[in-house]
Structure formats: structure tokens, C-alpha cells
């Protein structure tokens, strides 16, 4: 039995949807995380409720910030189809766990991939007596292969099954034990990580939940939303937790109502949010415009998925940047932020609320399917260090002196004090029409010009917001190649750049977190520091590349992927090698 010492391993579990693959992956991940390992998960499941293929992948490692994967080291194939569709992505020295009662894997000649036959169907049916515990048999064996102590995996499983009847729990735990023992006796390979210091200050969190928690931390106390994959977990989480904080949420009849209701709540002085995905975001175009012209703070989370239209609901893509930047007829300023990882999901949501309040306009958070249920270990946020911003309120002494409250008074920075219904001297009718300073509708030419400029002038109050880019420079003054990304591709870019630099290249990278207003003062010096730059994005027409081209009048080298899957570090690395000197 060979022990292979590793610091970084990718495990993929695949099979028919409904066989409990996600549960297996979740529990394996959590047990590994509890041991102090860093994790990055990726999962894909079919759009339909039953049937179709399911896949859970976790990268375990000692490095922080792991990108999804390059190739798999361990494949746990629940059936023949899982083996056939995934074997090509295996690392040449990997291990395949398969069910010998279902198929005999045929391997290419000369391969050094190891095979381990785990009769999981048979064990669950015959020895445990419940066929559905097949995934627990697989879990036990996989845990053993990764040197996770049995007690840890059993403990994690017990906690997950809390609430189920004792007999069922016992059967599941027995299945884990049998799988564990089978692997102990029969697997030729075992992976062992170095002992990692368990940081007490790390918490296990997924992208969507981090967004929900960020909203609560930011003071959001109103949520309205409509179920849509992959944003639904935000709605469901807040439906459970909001009442405990005095917040109110409800499921609306559609996305048009969702954003409308959030705008109504915010007009009433309560910080409000909605969450959706591409198709729902398209429906929100008109109401987004309304929030913009009426100058109402509101946060819209768009967890992007492959489009256009219904597209591929459970696959990832970065196709909504153009929509986020430009959708809605007319010129309507808005804020656009895009998290790269689970930690960003928490902090950038707070930033979204703060900027929405400061600028009195809608803020869009562009997350992504791959990040929505990605689990990571992040540093536990220190709540006392979080700064909250509130909208500028009127000084009613001044208002009384003036004799009239001017909701849309022209100011140097474009921001006008915003009253709250209930304020005795702040009465005004918020308007979707163009209006005078006192909010009365107006169609005068000069009024429209002045008000349009005012609304756009507000963006200046955020364009120099600190830490809206992350730069990974080379040790040289100038880099030959730069790689620019947005969204969850950051880790893959960093890994690719590091790999290229180790091979003698001179590559730096820039990651952008705020797309509107674009932090040009942070980006321009970076562009000056590279000879040419690649823009890596998961869409067809290069949304970020176009934005950079029109802003800086610079052409980039495109790297676009539209398979519904995240970038691998290798894909980016290959492009760098193609492009560079």
C-alpha cells in the first residue's frame, strides 16, 4: 500500500443525479476543512429535478486560494458513464475508484493511472441493506484514501444527519465504516497531507450564503426575490434568518415585483436587496432605470449563469457584464461590483450597500454559478471593523429656513440629501419623469441636461474607492504580458502566471472588482506596466475587453471560454505561453 505525500489534490465524484453525490462531496470537503486544509469546491448538477448527471469536485490543499482545478487526481465514478466522461481529465498518476459490479474500466495502453474497485452498489444493497447508502460507502472509502481519520468523517456525517431517525443514521454510518474498511484493505494508493495547523479563526462558507450574511452585516433588512437557479439559496437563507434580525422578506410573483418592492422599501428608508440570475435580471431592466433616475439606493445580486435566455441554468458564465453596465434604456448610472471568491462575496456585498447609499443609485453584484455554492475556508470576518455608510439625510433646520425641501437639489458632488417618509419637512414625490430640484416633473431642456449631469457626476464619489483592484506584479519594472480578469477566475490566473514565471516568463496580473465606475486611476498604471495584456473572461464577445478598449483605447489579447465551465489554470497558462515572447 503506497502512501503518496501530497500538498494539493483534486477529487472528483461523478454519477447519476439523485445518488447523493453532492452530499458525499460536501461531507468529504467539510471533514478535510476541519483538519485545517484549504478547500475550493466546484459542482455541477443537471437543470432537471431528477435524472441527468451530477458532479462534485473539491480541491484540497495547503495553499490558500485554490483555483478550481487543472486535472483530477482522484475520480470516484459511481457508474460507467461517470468513468467515460471524466477519464480524459485525469492526471496521469491519478487514481480511479470504480464499481466493479457495474463495469470494467478499459484504460489506454501505457497509462499509469491506478484503479481501485469498490463494490459500492453491492455493499450498500447486501451488507447495509439500503441501496441509497451507496454514496456513504463511497464517502468512507474516499475518506480513507485521503487519510482522513474515520472518527472525523463519521462525526461530520452524524452532524449532517441530525434530525433523521436513529435507524437511518446508523445505517448510513455503517455504510461509511464498510467503505472505509474496504479501502483500508484494498486500495493500493493512499494520499497524505502534511499536518496543518488548524486556524481557529477560519470559517466554512459558500458564496451565496456569504452574500446573504454580507447583506445582514450591511444593515439590509428587506429582501424580495423570485426563485431562479443559481440564486435561490440567497432567498431561502434569508427567509429563515431575516425574521431573527427583524428583517422582512417575501417571495414575489416575478422579478419585476422583486426589484420594485425592494425600491419601495428603500424609498421608505430600509436598506433593501433582491437576488436573481440572468433571465430575471433582464426583466429588471426597467425598474433598474427607475431606481437610477429616482436616485434610490438598492442592491441587486445577479448570480450569472450560461445564457442567453434560459441558456444552461446550472452552468457558469460571465455573460451579464454588458447588461449590468448598460441595460435599461437611456443613460442610467449604476454601480457594478464582481466578487472573485467567497470572502469577496461577504465584503463586496457590504461595499455594494455602502456605495448604493452613498451615491443613491442601484448597485449590482455580479456573482456566478461557480461561486454560488463554492465552499471555501475564509478568515472569520471581524464585525467591529466593518464600516457602514448611510444615505445623506437632510438638515431640516436648513430646509425650514429655505421653506421648501428640494429632494434633487443640485450640489457639487451631485448627491442630494434624501428624506425618509415620516419626516415632517421632507415631503416630496419621487419621480420616474425628469424633474426640477423640488421633484416636480419637468420637460424643460436645460433641466434635463442639468439633472442628467448631476446623476452621472455622483459616480465620481466612488471611482477612487480603494482596493477595487488587486495587482500581482512581477519583480521586474515592466511585465511582458499582463493577464486581466474579473469574477472567480482570479485564482486560476494567479496560478497560471506563477507557473509561467517559474518557466522564465515575465507575467503580471490584474484583477478588477468594481466595473462601474471603473477605477481607471488604479487600472491605467497597470496597463502602462505591461507590453500586452490578455483579458480572460467566460463569455463570447469579451465584455470586459470591450470596456477596457473603449476606456483606454487599447486592444487586448482575447481569452474567452463559453463551455459553461470555469477557467482552469492550464488554459490560461497555455494562452500566456502562446502570446508571450
Amino acid at each position: 500500500m503506497g502512501i503518496t505525500k501530497v500538498v494539493d489534490i483534486v477529487v472528483r465524484i461523478a454519477g447519476e443525479s439523485g445518488e447523493g453525490i453532492i452530499t458525499t462531496g460536501d461531507l468529504l470537503t467539510y471533514a478535510a476543512a476541519k483538519q485545517g486544509l484549504n478547500i475550493s469546491t466546484f459542482r455541477t448538477y443537471p437543470a432537471e429535478v431528477t435524472g441527468g448527471r451530477s458532479l462534485f469536485q473539491v480541491r484540497l490543499g495547503t495553499e490558500s486560494h485554490l483555483s478550481p482545478w487543472n486535472s483530477m487526481d482522484v475520480l470516484v465514478a459511481f457508474d460507467e458513464e461517470a468513468f467515460n466522461s471524466n477519464i480524459e481529465s485525469m492526471h496521469e498518476k491519478g487514481l480511479v475508484v470504480y464499481d466493479p459490479d457495474l463495469h470494467s474500466p478499459s484504460m489506454k495502453r501505457g497509462t499509469s493511472i491506478s484503479l481501485y474497485g469498490l463494490p459500492m452498489t453491492n455493499i450498500s444493497k447486501e451488507k447495509v441493506g439500503i441501496a441509497r447508502t451507496k454514496n456513504m460507502v463511497a464517502l468512507g472509502a474516499t475518506a480513507n484514501i485521503h487519510s482522513i481519520p474515520y472518527a472525523n468523517i463519521a462525526d461530520v456525517a452524524q452532524k449532517r444527519f441530525k434530525g433523521m431517525d436513529k435507524a437511518t443514521v446508523d445505517k448510513n454510518v455503517e455504510a461509511i465504516r464498510l467503505g472505509y474498511e474496504h479501502a483500508e484493505k484494498n486500495s493500493q494508493i493512499r494520499f497524505e497531507f502534511p499536518k496543518v495547523k488548524i486556524s481557529p479563526n477560519k470559517i466554512f462558507l459558500t458564496g451565496n450564503i456569504a452574500i446573504a450574511l454580507g447583506a445582514i452585516a450591511a444593515g439590509c433588512r428587506f429582501f424580495a426575490g423570485y426563485p431562479i437557479t443559481p440564486s435561490t439559496t440567497i432567498l431561502e437563507y434569508l427567509s429563515r434568518e431575516f425574521p431573527k434580525f427583524g428583517g422582512n422578506m417575501f417571495q414575489t410573483e416575478d422579478e419585476l415585483a422583486a426589484l420594485s418592492a425592494a425600491i419601495g422599501a428603500s424609498y421608505g428608508g430600509v436598506k433593501a436587496m433582491t437576488a436573481t440570475s440572468g433571465p430575471g435580471f433582464s426583466l429588471m431592466a426597467e425598474t433598474l432605470d427607475l431606481a437610477s433616475i429616482a436616485e434610490i439606493p438598492v442592491v441587486i445580486v445577479d448570480v450569472q449563469r450560461a445564457g442567453p435566455s434560459t441558456g444552461m441554468p446550472t452552468k457558469t458564465e460571465q455573460g451579464d457584464l454588458n447588461a449590468a453596465l448598460y441595460q435599461g434604456h437611456g443613460d442610467a448610472p449604476r454601480i457594478v461590483l464582481a466578487p472573485a471568491n467567497v470572502e469577496d462575496c461577504f465584503y463586496l456585498t457590504i461595499k455594494a450597500f455602502n456605495l448604493a447609499e452613498r451615491l443613491q443609485m442601484p448597485a449590482i453584484m455580479l456573482s456566478e454559478q461557480q461561486l454560488s455554492d463554492r465552499a471555501e475556508m475564509i478568515d472569520k470576518p471581524s464585525l467591529s471593523r466593518i464600516k457602514i455608510e448611510d444615505r445623506l439625510k437632510p438638515n431640516y433646520e436648513d430646509v425650514k429656513k429655505e421653506g421648501v425641501y428640494k429632494r434633487y437639489v443640485i450640489t457639487e458632488d451631485g448627491i442630494s440629501p434624501m428624506s425618509t417618509p415620516g419626516d415632517r419637512h421632507g415631503i416630496y414625490i419621487s419621480e420616474s419623469l425628469e424633474r426640477l430640484e423640488n421633484a416636480t416633473f419637468s420637460y424643460e431642456p436645460e433641466t434635463h441636461k442639468v439633472m442628467m449631469e448631476k446623476r452621472f457626476r455622483k459616480l465620481k464619489k466612488a471611482e477612487n474607492e480603494p482596493n477595487m483592484t488587486r495587482i500581482y506584479p512581477t519583480s521586474n519594472k515592466k511585465a511582458d504580458i499582463g493577464v486581466i480578469s474579473w469574477g472567480p477566475s482570479e485564482d486560476a490566473v494567479i496560478e497560471a502566471a506563477n507557473k509561467a514565471n517559474k518557466q522564465g516568463k515575465n507575467v503580471s496580473s490584474l484583477h478588477i472588482l468594481m466595473l462601474s465606475p471603473l477605477p481607471t486611476k488604479q487600472i491605467k498604471p497597470y496597463l502602462d506596466s505591461v507590453d500586452k495584456f490578455i483579458v480572460a473572461e467566460l463569455n463570447q464577445t469579451g465584455h470586459l475587453a470591450s470596456l477596457l478598449a473603449k476606456t483606454f483605447l487599447l486592444e487586448s489579447v482575447p481569452l474567452r471560454k463559453t463551455t459553461g465551465l470555469p477557467f482552469t489554470a492550464n488554459e490560461i497558462f497555455q494562452r500566456i505561453m502562446e502570446v508571450g515572447p
Binding site: 460536501d26 461531507l27 467539510y30 461530520v156 452532524k159 470559517i203 466554512f204 462558507l205 450564503i209 450574511l213 445582514i216 452585516a217 433588512r221 428587506f222 434568518e241 425574521p243 431573527k244 434580525f245 427583524g246 422582512n248 417575501f250 414575489t252 410573483e253 416575478d254 419585476l256 415585483a257 422583486a258 420594485s260 418592492a261 425592494a262 425600491i263 419601495g264 422599501a265 428603500s266 424609498y267 421608505g268 428608508g269 430600509v270 433593501a272 426597467e286 425598474t287 432605470d289 427607475l290 429616482a294 465552499a375 472569520k380 464585525l383 417618509p421 415620516g422 419626516d423 415632517r424 419637512h425 421632507g426 415631503i427 416630496y428 414625490i429 419621487s430 419621480e431 420616474s432 419623469l433
Partner: protein, 283 residues
């Protein structure tokens, strides 16, 4: 909140300096009168009132009022107002819209606001035409009517907003007439008093594009005192009748409102967790 020393308001206290833009003789003036009379009757403080509207002639109303409010986008007033009332149950929230805004593009929200029993008043000014855009058919325009968009006659059957409100679960439904502002004032005041979703269909003829004043006057009849206000089927039956055309309160029941349910839930769940606790994170 009203106090013992609160001054009695007059209808003009709720009117802004902006002159209404409606055509002379427009039914909306009658509704405007009834609305401001009812507000005065209830003696609400202007700063505690929010009037939300969509798009159309009726939806211009907030600008002519000295209250908080929002002139929003076509069809979405109810949804926005629902969000506002949930966030601010202390405010008097009133939604005003026309039949196009309310039951064409806004149809979905109308049904759901009714079933939610959100505690607000919804006044739908029904003129069975699209006035703002100069004369196209609306969902309540009669079958075979010739309009700007139906020169060969409307093909579809007209919708009945009051009947739909009852079926969808509204807990207070009334029909009034701009040509009878006294009765309409009473109905609007009752709607304000009602706890729950109070729908008032204010038949409000458009003198310019669909002048039905005499037709309505000739068919108008008050709902009989004997009508059981808690009987849904009876209410629908009365609402569906075209001739006579019935005015008055159709349906009135007291059931828990969306706000009451939310506030009960929040009371029960208050403090059951903290952000610190949620940030421990587990599978």
C-alpha cells in the same frame, strides 16, 4: 399618530401647488376630490401618507398632492407599494392607477397584492380606455368597441376589476363613481379604515376619448343594504352585472394582513440568532 391636540385638516392641506393636468370634466378630478376629502376626514398627517402610482392619467395624481409618494413605472405601483408598506407599516400607503396600468401590465401584481392582503388602499381609476396615449383599448373596454387600436372593434371580453379582486382574495372591495364624489369619499374613507388590502374601483370616465358619463349614470344603482358583505359569490355576482351597474361596498371581511403575519413572526423569532453565530459556518 393622531394626538388630542392635533389640528383638524382640510382637503386643501393635501393638495400641492401643482395644478392637475387632466382635461376639464375628467373623472379623475372627482376621484381627486374624494381622495383629499377622505384624507381630511381621517385627519392623517401629510408626512405619514405615501401615494404610489404607475403611468397614465390617473397615475399623475401624486404630483397634485402634498404627501410623500412615488410616480413609478407602468404597472409596478402595487409591487413597489407592497415593499414600502412591509418596510414601513406605520405609513398610510395608497396606490392610485388607471385600468391600463392596474389590470393590463399590472394585472399580475393586482392579483398577488389581493391574495397577500397587504394593508394598503388601492384606487383604480377605471375609464375603460388608454387616455394618456390618446385612445387605445384597455382590458376593461367593451367588446366590439371602436378605439384607436381597435378600428374594427375590440375582439376580447372586458375584465371586471372588482370581481377579480374578490376572487383573488382582496378583503375589501368597493366600486365608486367619479360622478358621485360624495359616495366615493365614503368608500375611500372606509377603505382607509379597513385593515388589509382595500380595493376601490373608481369608475372615472374619460371625457376626451371614452365619455361614458350618461351611460353610467343611467345604469347606476346602489348595492342593496341587504347584501351580505362577507358573501364572496354574491359579491362577484353583483360586480359582474353591467346593467344595472352597482356601486357601493361589495365585500368586506377582516382577516389577518400580511403585515400582521410578518410582525407576529418577527416578534416570535427576534434575537434567536446573532451575526456572530451565523458566521461560524458549517455544512
Amino acid at each position: 399618530m393622531a394626538t388630542a391636540t392635533k389640528q383638524k385638516s382640510s382637503p386643501s392641506d393635501y393638495k400641492s401647488d401643482v395644478k392637475p393636468v387632466w382635461c376639464p370634466g375628467c373623472g379623475d378630478y372627482g376621484v381627486y376630490t374624494a381622495l383629499t376629502n377622505a384624507l381630511s376626514e381621517k385627519n392623517y398627517s401629510p408626512w405619514e401618507i405615501a401615494v404610489i402610482s404607475g403611468i397614465g392619467c390617473a397615475s399623475r395624481t401624486p404630483s397634485f398632492l402634498r404627501v410623500y409618494g412615488f410616480h413609478t413605472v407602468h404597472g409596478r405601483a402595487l409591487a413597489l407599494a407592497t415593499g414600502l408598506k412591509i418596510a414601513r407599516p406605520d405609513l398610510h400607503v395608497i396606490v392610485v392607477a388607471g385600468d391600463g396600468d392596474g389590470i393590463s401590465i399590472g394585472g399580475g401584481h393586482f392579483i398577488h397584492a389581493s391574495r397577500r392582503n397587504i394593508d394598503l388602499t388601492y384606487i383604480m381609476m377605471n375609464n375603460s380606455i388608454y387616455g394618456q396615449t390618446k385612445g387605445q383599448a384597455s382590458p376593461t373596454t367593451l367588446e366590439d368597441a371602436v378605439t384607436r387600436s381597435t378600428p374594427y372593434g375590440v375582439f376580447d371580453k372586458p375584465l371586471n376589476p372588482s370581481a377579480i379582486a374578490v376572487v383573488a382574495g382582496a378583503s375589501f372591495v368597493a366600486r365608486g363613481f367619479a360622478g358621485n364624489p360624495k359616495q366615493l369619499t365614503e368608500l375611500v374613507a372606509k377603505a382607509f379604515e379597513h385593515r388589509g388590502f382595500a380595493f376601490v374601483e373608481a369608475v372615472s370616465p374619460c371625457v376626451t376619448f371614452n365619455n361614458t358619463y350618461s351611460s353610467i349614470k343611467s345604469r347606476a344603482r346602489n348595492i342593496d343594504e341587504s347584501h351580505d358583505l362577507t358573501n364572496k359569490i354574491e359579491a362577484i355576482d353583483i360586480a359582474l352585472k353591467e346593467n344595472p351597474l352597482y356601486f357601493g361596498v361589495l365585500y368586506d371581511v377582516r382577516v389577518p394582513t400580511m403585515n400582521e403575519k410578518m410582525s407576529t413572526l418577527n416578534e416570535k423569532m427576534k434575537g434567536k440568532t446573532t451575526l456572530e453565530e451565523l458566521l461560524t459556518g458549517s455544512v
